[in-house]
């Protein structure tokens, strides 16, 4: 069985020495793969290994990262997949060329209402008003943080916030040389919005922008 790591342009630089990797080339595209004995399981170690391989590849080439756990039966199937989605993959690679993903999370102050959602004594009106308050807080975070950062990015995406106090989770596709400017703007936005907490991580492979 074959595990996929990334789709990249061919020809490219030599493969990094982080795992027994192989390249399957079709015309101007290549898939970076590894032969594996059994279907991958989602453990934190395996996920980080996958991430390390993709990031090592990212150092020297433009790529479309493949999500962990994507497998195909054999090399012919990989070649077939490259052939079938050729145009789409070339367009997608062109879109992320020279850019990386930067993630920004925005946290608010949290609610003064200490009662949690499972409190059965809480009134329906309180529940809805708390939702409305969060909605407005989120909209303010979008215009205070997401909008200014978007001006420095090639593309942007919003993902659902899931953590407590988290108002916003955004992904930005940023040109490699612009990452430093981008993180300086994050620091400036933090300074001018003391009520918000900004967390910025990256550079990541362009996971949020690989499928378009």
């Amino acid at each position: 069985m074959i595990e996929l790591y990334a789709i990249t342009s061919h020809p490219g630089p030599p493969l990094p020495d982080v795992a027994p990797l192989r390249e399957i080339e079709r015309d101007r595209l290549s898939a970076v793969i590894a032969h594996i004995d059994e279907e991958p399981v989602a453990t934190a170690d395996r996920l980080w290994h996958h991430e390390r391989v993709v990031e090592a590849l990212m150092q020297s080439r433009n790529l479309l990262p493949v999500r962990y756990g994507t497998c195909l039966p054999d090399e012919d199937a990989v070649a077939g997949a490259l052939d079938r989605r050729r145009e789409e993959l070339i367009t997608a690679l062109e879109f992320v060329r020279g850019a990386v993903e930067v993630s920004v999370r925005v946290f608010g102050q949290g609610s003064e209402d200490q009662r949690d959602a499972s409190d059965r004594n809480r009134s329906g009106a309180d529940y809805l008003r708390e939702k409305a308050r969060r909605g407005h807080e989120r909209a303010r975070a979008v215009s205070a943080v997401h909008e200014p950062l978007r001006a420095l990015a090639r593309a942007d995406a919003e993902r659902p916030a899931t953590l407590d106090r988290e108002l916003l989770r955004s992904a930005f596709l940023v040109d490699r040389p612009r990452v430093a400017t981008f993180s300086r703007l994050v620091a400036a936005l933090q300074a001018s919005h003391p009520g918000l907490q900004l967390l910025c991580t990256g550079p990541w492979p362009p996971y949020s922008f690989a499928q378009r």
């Binding site: 959602a117 009106a125 809805l128 659902p160 967390l199 990256g202």
Partner: protein, 113 residues
């Protein structure tokens, strides 16, 4: 992972948890292989129910903002949404699904929710 930190929030507690997370690596698809069919189907159905629940909730919030609902109506609507949210959480637990599992990647259209 500190090499991935481009900006650290002033409140250090925020970094004590699961941040930065590895979630971008995890696939978010309906799992349709035969052994997991029941869970995959539950995931699909609950995703659709969750979508409808959120749409209705947003509609209610808009009407509160517009001031077209009476106190009594707000209370009743809020109560209904609260119970729905609780029930959804119970069902998610029953099928071992996370909140993120109820969000489908629609390819070029982005995420469903």
């Amino acid at each position: 992972m500190t090499d991935k930190l481009l900006h650290r929030p002033p409140d250090p507690d925020l970094l004590a948890g699961s941040l930065p997370s590895i979630d971008p690596v995890l696939s978010r698809r309906v799992n349709a292989d035969p052994e997991n069919l029941e869970r995959g189907l539950a995931q699909l159905v609950l995703t659709l129910v969750e979508l409808l629940r959120q749409l209705m909730e947003r509609q209610a919030l808009r009407r509160i903002d517009d001031g077209t609902l009476s106190e009594d109506q707000i209370e009743r609507l809020g109560r209904t949404f609260m119970l729905l949210a609780e029930r959804m959480e119970e069902l998610r637990h029953e099928f071992g699904l996370d909140e993120e599992d109820l969000n489908l990647n629609l390819g070029p259209l982005g995420n469903l929710l």
